[in-house]
């Protein structure tokens, strides 16, 4: 959990308080904190004078605007057909083994969240995954261990 402090107010100043400012404000919060707390959504609703249910409705439509608590590093393994055929399941079980969590879960130290995602456009270099904004491609169980270990050291 985090507290947004003045962030929502600052973002409303930056992006404006019209209905169309909702998306950029939510994106900027997620950029900073990885996910949206209920508190932050209520703050956004108050700033824009819309209802909190509307903010939640918008956020819940977009996979990348998480409304559940997420770790510092969000791993999204592509689950779409090409990556599936090229060994996505092995990648996932390798990550599950190394982080001791299942898909959808976050490590107790809040460092990693493991998720699946729909196609991220790297079919030609499948299997692929994202960690935060960074794509990793042509994955094998060996290379994925190195990638994760790299983030563990950060």
């Amino acid at each position: 959990m985090y507290h947004t402090g003045n962030l929502v107010k600052e973002l409303a100043e930056k992006h404006g308080r019209k209905r169309e400012s909702l998306m950029p404000i939510l994106q900027d919060i997620v950029k900073k904190y990885n996910y949206l707390t209920d508190e932050s959504m209520v703050e956004v609703a108050t700033e824009l004078d819309i209802s909190a249910a509307e903010v939640y409705g918008t956020a819940s439509f977009y996979t990348f605007l998480d409304t559940q608590e997420r770790g510092k590093n969000v791993i999204r393994v592509c689950k779409t057909i090409t990556c599936s055929m090229k060994g996505k399941n092995d990648i996932i079980s390798t990550i599950e083994d190394i982080l001791k969590i299942r898909v959808g879960e976050t490590t107790p130290d809040k460092m990693f969240t493991l998720l699946e995602t729909n196609c991220i456009g790297w079919c030609h270099k499948a299997p692929a995954m994202l960690i935060n904004d960074m794509p990793y491609t042509d994955l094998t169980p060996e290379t994925v261990i190195d990638v994760i270990k790299g983030y563990m050291r950060k």
Binding site: T46, I50, S51, A52, A53, E54, V55, Y56, F61
Partner: protein
């Protein structure tokens, strides 16, 4: 004007008319589901698709404006097949436990299924695969997602008519649902329980929480003395659920029906509506005196009315800093409840513990109001059960009463007498008019200066109404009001209430007294009223209310003999100690989501 053909018949309509409206002018019926006359076009259910010659795909009649030379077919084979598939697809996502459903035979989806899709279902039933839950948290209504077809009438109602948006569309694709903020229980969000969504839901996804069985149990319990009160707006709408056209006044027949159902005493909320006027009128004049004469900084003006529980919850959530502006008067329902188990119990010599107090209301928020923990000033739950107009109609049918043949009867006494001022409480502007009739006379000793006491500037369907009443010829006690112009405003529908509240909150408007009713048209358009509702139906109910007023012997609250008597025998004086104990309340600041 635009000329087009529908089913080979030519029709001329104004530009901007939709294909659906044009067809209606020709008497051609196109089925609809997500469409509702009170709401903006959504075009999401696709039930109204029609064929336009030359167009590649079928078009949604509700969303398509007419254009010159259009050639529309509403009943071609292509349309029929598509419509059947659309209804089937909607059914595949709808838990169709029709015989057990509260909306059985009142469900628009069921009607469509009846017309277009009987026999074997052609698509897989998806409902059983979905985890669904039924939100029973509100005392006013149920939200059952397994019956929701996501037409979003409720979402549009909550946003456009009520400016609340307690519910919105969440998630996407197969997971899309109508959700409160982060799926919290409806009792823990900004929802006002107004029931406007319930009134517009085409299926059983949103229904009032019914207490019919509990009321039957009380009636059949020989130890219980069951009193019933009926709100003003019920008598002009109940007929609609019992085969009458909108606008029929059925007051007398309703009283007979309630007696036949077995209620021990059939009484009238209008009695406490008259009482509300005395209490609220006195409160307003006291506030005016405090502000104008005593220059008291702690007294808040303008004063808002407090009869509408939907409005109360709205202001508690959205404008908590203006709670001191709310009249402290309870609503007529709750005044009635508090008096039924005190004054009435004493007079009739009945143990209040044995009294079951039932109210028939045009309203779902009244169920919530009766459940508020502060509404126990008699020492018991002041109102035990609240039934909507619709639920009363169900009970009348269950009892096998032939409503049309009933002889009209009069309310019982005590707490059954009323005036025309009380009955107009059911329409927007009515509380204001009733208050003015009494307050003006109290201050000047003369009736309000309007023909037949009809204060027409405060009547009608305009969203926000304003009026100024000049006070002249005051009596000695009220000399400080001589020549004063009392500025009043009236709003109905929370979207309009919000406009007024915002204007007052930001200092852009200065009024002395503001009447707010949460529902469009006031209580006549309440969430517990017969379905369907639209502006024409509400106008007819409103006309019936004013006609009821004109037919009353007494038309000013302070002339109600039982009201005069209750002050003499029990309450002593308006806004006095006993009044404050039983008839006034306080409010609570609530969260903004």
């Amino acid at each position: 004007m635009v000329t087009l053909k529908i089913n080979d018949q030519e029709v001329k309509v104004a530009e901007g008319t939709t294909v659906l409206e044009a067809a209606k002018q020709l008497g051609v019926n196109i089925p609809t589901l997500c469409n509702h006359p009170d709401l903006c076009v959504a075009g999401n259910c696709r039930v109204c698709v029609v064929e336009q010659k030359g167009a590649r795909t079928l078009i949604a009649a509700c969303a398509m404006p007419v254009s010159e030379g259009m050639d529309i077919h509403t009943n071609s084979l292509k349309v029929r097949n598509a419509r059947k598939h659309i209804v089937e697809l909607l059914l595949s996502e709808h838990r169709a436990d029709c015989t057990k459903c509260y909306k059985n035979q009142k469900c628009e989806l069921q009607t469509l299924a009846n017309e277009y899709s009987f026999g074997e279902h052609i698509f897989l039933d998806l409902v059983e695969d979905h985890a669904y839950n039924i939100d029973r948290s509100s005392p006013s209504f149920l939200k059952d997602d397994s019956k929701c077809i996501r037409c979003q009438r409720c979402v549009r109602t909550c946003a456009q008519l009520q400016h609340v948006s307690a519910i919105a569309v969440a998630n996407k694709g197969a997971h899309m649902k109508i959700s409160s903020f982060h799926d919290r229980p409806m009792s823990h969000v900004v929802c006002t329980n107004c029931g406007q969504c319930v009134n517009r839901c085409p299926t059983g996804a949103l229904t009032e929480k019914t207490y019919i069985d509990q009321v039957w149990d009380a009636i059949y319990d020989p130890d219980k003395h069951v009193v019933v009160q009926t709100a003003p707006a019920v008598r002009v709408a109940l007929g609609e659920d019992l085969g009458y056209d909108p606008g029929e006044r059925v007051t007398g027949k309703m009283v007979t029906a309630l007696r036949q159902l077995g209620f021990d005493s059939v009484l009238d909320t209008d009695f406490t509506a008259d009482l509300t006027i005395i209490e609220e009128g006195t409160e307003l004049l006291t506030r005016l005196k405090k502000v104008l004469v005593e220059k008291d900084k702690n007294t808040a003006l303008p004063m808002f009315t407090s009869c509408s529980p939907g409005w109360i919850k709205f202001i508690e959530h959205k404008y908590p800093h203006m709670l001191p502006n709310l009249s402290t008067c309870k609503s007529p329902q709750q005044m009635f409840g508090a008096l039924a188990k005190t004054f009435y119990a004493q007079k009739r010599n009945i143990d209040p513990a044995k009294i079951v107090s039932v109210s028939i209301m045009p309203c779902t928020a009244k169920k919530y109001e009766a459940d508020r923990p502060e509404m126990r000033s008699s020492g018991y739950k002041d109102i035990d059960f609240v039934l909507t107009t619709r639920e009363l109609a169900v009970m009348i049918k269950q009892a096998g009463i032939d409503f049309r043949t009933l002889e009209p009867a009069r309310y019982d006494s005590i707490m059954g007498s009323s005036t025309g001022a009380a009955v107009i409480f059911g329409a927007t502007g009515g509380v204001m008019e009733a208050a003015l009739r009494t307050a003006y006379e109290l201050v000047t000793g003369k009736p309000v200066p309007f023909t037949n006491l009809n204060i027409t500037p405060v009547r009608g369907m305009e969203g926000v109404k304003e009026a100024t009443v000049k006070i002249e010829g005051t009596t000695e006690e009220w000399r400080f009001l001589e020549g004063a112009e009392l500025k009043v405003a009236i709003a109905h529908g929370l979207v309009n209430a919000n406009k007024v509240a915002k204007a007052v909150s930001t200092g852009k408007a200065s009024y002395h007294f503001i009447e707010i009713m949460a529902c469009p048209g006031g209580c006549i358009g309440g969430g517990g009223q017969p379905i369907p509702t639209n502006v024409e139906i509400r106008k007819k109910r409103m006309e019936a209310i004013y006609s009821e007023d004109m037919h009353m012997d007494l038309r000013k609250s302070h002339e109600n003999p039982e009201v005069v008597a209750i002050y003499k025998e029990f309450l002593e004086k308006p806004n006095g100690h006993k009044s404050h104990e039983l008839l006034h309340t306080h409010y609570i600041e609530r969260e903004s989501y």
